[in-house]
Amino acid sequence: MEIRYTAEHEWVAIDGNRATVGITDYAQRALGDLVFVQLPTVGSAISRGAVAAVVESVKAASDIYSPLTGRIIEVNAATASDPSLVNTEPMGAGWLFKIECSDLSELSQLLDESAYRQIAQ
């Protein structure tokens, strides 16, 4: 499994043509305590850059963009019932959704860890 990032502070764990998406620790810190998570519908088609989820902290709402084009194959309902999971385990149990990727060429547009570190300082 390979972890990539987006400039919008999402992480993408890639396993073949499947990708698990969440927000980075930097993002959860910047947002503060999350109080609401809206997840996409399983089975829905999604384009790279489209709004896939919404997370909302005590401060503000924030869109989560799909890092890849494909289909939503699973969502982490635990984050909707307990949004604080995203704060406590942003890169683990606080993952948001999984995509079956239809255009693997898009993977090359994601950031590796060192490139993301440059942004998230």
């Binding site: 503060g32 305590d33 109080v35 609401f36 809206q38 902290s57 005590v58 503000a60 709402a61």
Partner: protein, 356 residues
Amino acid sequence: MEPFAGCAMPIQYALGILGEHRHTRAAAGLFDVSHMGQIILRARSGENRDAALALESLVPVDVVSLRQGRQRYAFFTTPSGGISDDLMIANLNTCLYLVVNAARIASDVAYLRERLSAHCTVEVLTDRALLAIQGPSACAALSALVPMVAAMRFMDADVFSIDGASCFITRSGYTGEDGFEISVPAAMAATIVERLLDHASVKLIGLGARDSLRLESGLCLYGHDLTADTTPVEAALEWAIQPARRVGGARVGGFPGSEVILSQLSHGAERKRVGLRPDARPVREGAALFADATSSAPLGQITSGTYAPSAQCPVAMGYVPASVAHIGTRLFADIRGQRIPVTLSGMPFVPHRYHR
């Protein structure tokens, strides 16, 4: 730190907004609210009643019968009946002590001087810090420094000495909890903060939790829930206009916008500030309110909204037509095209726990 009305203000400290909010309701939160304006109004005649009479020309509130050692909520009204700021007025025997909103200090002071200088001096206390300690443990913590505060009741105001310095203390605040606001010489503020923080139950609280605490308590924020375009009756603040200033009272009217405000007190306003409980997700300031999920004509607007950490649900305030301003009415808030059902609710969203 974030810029706020010319001050660098902490949005949150180590606990985070949710943790700070819950800590304040469970124990005691300490807020640095020194950005707020502190003003002393003193009658040139030396009679505090003359300062009260003068101030009544600017607020629809009974200041004259505000007894020594008591505090009262008030607002400056505009000629069209709107609100140009909300404030606290305390009678400190030889003077009136006013606390106004940070963003309104300059205009409030200019206004007070322009309108009241013939009868009063207007002194801005730029050399004083203002601290608020709020929550069920606030009294125990402050009593360790000033034992006399334990005898105060909600909205009492008095002058005490801390280490020889004169401090104005009121048993009030803006969280819905029991607590105090403490005006101290700026040079002493850090020492007093440290001594209050010595109490294990006291933690520093930032602006973020201050906002969720006041909103959950149904308290208005100037510039958001109250503006020059909202009248006190529309804002459901009739309770702050005492009988002496109403029709039939000893000093009826005589404040800016009195015709509009007295008429609305008698006949009602066309819109009202109401509490709202959104289904599922928070709705924010500026969201339009609709009668149903599809209509295109908004009937109102959200003026404050957040997740309420103690009520454990999203809460909001907004203005709606009086015809629908009934508890239980279902409306829809628009969040970027998504219609979120909201239910009109009584306020506060959590009970006030003042020490009456």
